[in-house]
Symmetry: C2
């Protein structure tokens, strides 16, 4: 059984944040390479107007779908029309409420906001490393998606279990037009501040031993903003969707 203990969930989120940071640092070793995101400039002979980034994300998800990645609740694909898994996957027992889990899909905003973030993350210009750039983009996006969905699903379920009546009432108010009680229940400013501080310290710390002859160091403030403006708000939106569905609204 996957744990719904809030401290275990928080620690797991912290682990996922290290993976995100590692992958962003890896991506930043290449320049922005805007052509990799331009329609029709993929270099593929038969890919029409899709960008190299679009193609890489699509191919990665088709492969991952075949291997059963998206059978795991916190792995939410960016494409809706992926092939069925080609293998049977044995999952641990889930504490989530299945209808509520199925109601959470935070993918729509992730790609868009990540792509807006690339010019801040990378040195501008073109180094010709388009294939490596989109490879690392996709790894980073997958890590962000996992962090957002894991947080939304398990934090919401854990909170709900701690006080079902209170969360159901707040969901009722939200369904009736007043989201403020639900927002108040899922907003913990001191925790959010602690995450932001920890993320930016970790970005600094991890990069301290980098050899700057070839490794580009990224600005901790950029990762902080990614968390503050994207990862945390998306997680909360996912929590709201989960709790509304959990309360049958």
């Amino acid at each position: 059984m996957v744990s719904v203990d809030l401290s275990v969930i928080a620690a797991h989120l912290e682990g996922l944040e290290e993976t995100i940071i590692h992958r962003l640092i890896d991506r930043a070793q290449f320049r922005e390479n805007p052509a990799a995101y331009s329609p029709g400039r993929s270099g593929f002979n038969d890919a029409g107007d899709r960008s190299l980034f679009d193609l890489r994300l699509r191919h990665q998800e088709e492969m991952d779908a075949a291997f059963g990645r998206f059978e795991v609740p916190e792995e939410c694909p960016f494409h809706a029309d992926l092939p069925a898994p080609r293998r049977s996957v044995a999952l641990p027992e889930s504490p989530l409420e299945p209808t509520a889990a199925a109601a959470v899909n935070c993918t729509p905003g992730i790609v868009e906001t990540y792509l807006k973030f690339v010019p801040a993350l990378c040195e501008s210009g073109n180094d010709g490393q388009h294939g490596s750039s989109v490879e690392h983009d996709v790894l980073a996006i997958q890590a962000i998606g996992r962090r957002v969905h894991y947080g939304a699903l398990y934090v919401a379920e854990s909170k709900y279990r701690a006080s079902p009546a209170q969360h159901s009432a707040a969901a009722e108010s939200a369904a009736a037009g007043d989201r403020s009680p639900l927002l108040a229940l899922i907003t913990r400013p001191e925790i959010e501040d602690r995450i932001l501080r920890r993320v930016s310290e970790k970005v600094d710390y991890i990069q301290a031993p980098l050899n700057l002859v070839v490794r580009r160091r990224i600005d901790p403030q950029i990762v902080l903003r990614l968390y503050r403006d994207t990862i945390i708000p998306m997680t909360k939106r996912g929590e709201i969707d989960y709790l509304l569905a959990r309360a049958g609204r």
Copy 2:
């Protein structure tokens, strides 16, 4: 033009070593999961006797081949019969001698030694996370392969250019049965010691802020042994193959 300045190459190798360490730490978050490496236990309905690991490496390389990864000299695939690239890749001018570069293939030993290394890296037993385990294995193996081939190709070319006559003579001796002059030219014990020390320090440093509630810390000695017994010897074997071919032997 890719640089053949030895200090630039050394710094790039240092960057690649950070990617290897990050990926090994990520793999170690899952248990050993021996079933993922067992023939016929992939869970795929139509994959015969291949293990889940074999299948993941194969699918990853087929995708990467389509995207043109293996057009880059230091990206040497683990499969010989991959599809041709589906896109045209613009590469920077290469300083390598093409026949010599084509003579280097260190892939045969990498998978075998990596798989022997997994039981030391991971906690023993099974956590059911087979898909994630092999996904991270493949990312780690690709990072190791890139480090070995980049080192072999560019270090050898750089050394050859610094003293072509000396390296040609040593290659002649090797072709005549005496490898010791060539081995002496490519062996720098003080550099190897420095790499081993740096790798183990970096493994310790990078892991210091890990939250041990969910993140497993890996033993720096394990990564040191991977470098000492596998990565460095394989790089040197690749250098020898390059220099023999470079001297027309």
